[in-house]
């Protein structure tokens, strides 16, 4: 969920997260083509809403993170988009603390960015079927990496890493499944109707 509240993480981890996120946001804004600003806004709004809506998945109820999809469409701009979404979630709903915004942004945006980069590297031929498979992998893998990063942040802050990792990763298994299906569907649709949205990222 990458909604770590205030008072959980240690100061070095907070500072490191803030630095990584600041660099990411600076990069994202620097390379942002004005024509693409509306796209970032839409994806930011999607990220903001996605983790507030719960879907039934077997016994548990899960919410999507949509980091993979955002990373594929936005590239580096996923950092500012994620930051804005997380700020609003923290301010409006109290999900996640304000001091940990840097870490939360990093936990969400770094996997998203990696998923996007790998997707673009692997998706050369432009076929929608391949895009769907890669999109599913990017979506599920993004969630997994986010969960692992959250567990690492908790471990680095002096909590027992194994317990945290088990709890966080197990909680995210249904999310990974739903997210993989959703991202695959969305990416395959984009590959057919608007492939230029996937091809290039600033």
């Amino acid at each position: 969920m990458a909604h770590i509240p205030d008072g959980v993480l240690s100061n070095p981890v907070l500072v490191a997260g803030a630095i990584v996120s600041t660099v990411g946001v600076a990069f994202g804004l620097k390379g942002l083509d004005p024509v693409r600003v509306p796209r970032v806004a839409v994806l930011s709004a999607v990220l903001f809403v996605a983790s507030l809506i719960h879907l039934p998945a077997g016994l548990a109820s899960v919410h999507l993170l949509l980091g993979g999809l955002a990373g594929i469409v936005l590239g580096w701009s996923v950092f500012p988009a994620m930051l804005v979404a997380l700020v609003l979630q923290a301010v409006l709903f109290g999900f996640g603390g304000l001091v940990v915004l840097g870490v939360n942004t990093m936990d969400m945006a770094v996997p998203a960015l990696l998923a996007g980069l790998l997707f673009r590297l692997a998706w050369r031929d432009g076929s929608p079927r391949r895009a769907a498979i890669l999109g599913g992998l990017a979506g599920g893998g993004g969630v997994l990496l986010t969960a692992v990063m959250v567990a690492c942040m908790l471990g680095l802050s002096g909590r027992e890493f194994e317990t945290a990792a088990r709890l966080v990763v197990v909680a995210h298994v249904p999310v990974m499944a739903v997210e993989a299906v959703f991202t695959a569907a969305a990416v395959s649709l984009l590959a057919r109707v608007k492939p230029e949205m996937l091809a290039r990222a600033s």
Partner: protein, 188 residues
Amino acid sequence: MIKTLALLLVLLLLAHPAQAHKLKVFASAEGAAISGLVYFSGGAKAMGVSGVVQGPDGAEVGRFATAEDGSFRFPVNVRMDHLIMVDAGDGHVASALVAADEFPASLPPTSLPQVAASARSAPTVASVAAAADMDAVEAAVARQIRPLRQQLDAYEEKVRLHDLLGGIGTIFGLFGIVAWLNARGRTS
């Protein structure tokens, strides 16, 4: 594939907007005890979560773990502020304060019960009976209003549609400003 997407969209629309996982703890005094509930916003109960109870000076008073329905009960010996902090182990923490004046007046007010007890004059039979009555009334009232307080506590956390729309509007406004600044830079 479009079918799947459509299905997911329908599910998204049907799902009630609520509850990103945030841990919540509700605690109130019930006679000479703290009883409470640990849950995730949205209503799912958090079972087996460990908690720590602290006094006003930050010293640990005791520990507890929640039962299967997320509830816990902690006996109180001293009439003082109790801070309850719970930790689900996966980065979710929450805390709640039970103020001293929620507890019955018959409890000793400091953490030195022996001194307090000996300093007091020997209670008469009548005053003991009155105090017992008072405690019974307080416990009954606390029990009656507890569901109400609990409901209020959960209601506060509910994600409402207007909050969602406000957030979306803010996002578009923000990026609108970015676009506007960009456009201004290009024309001048």
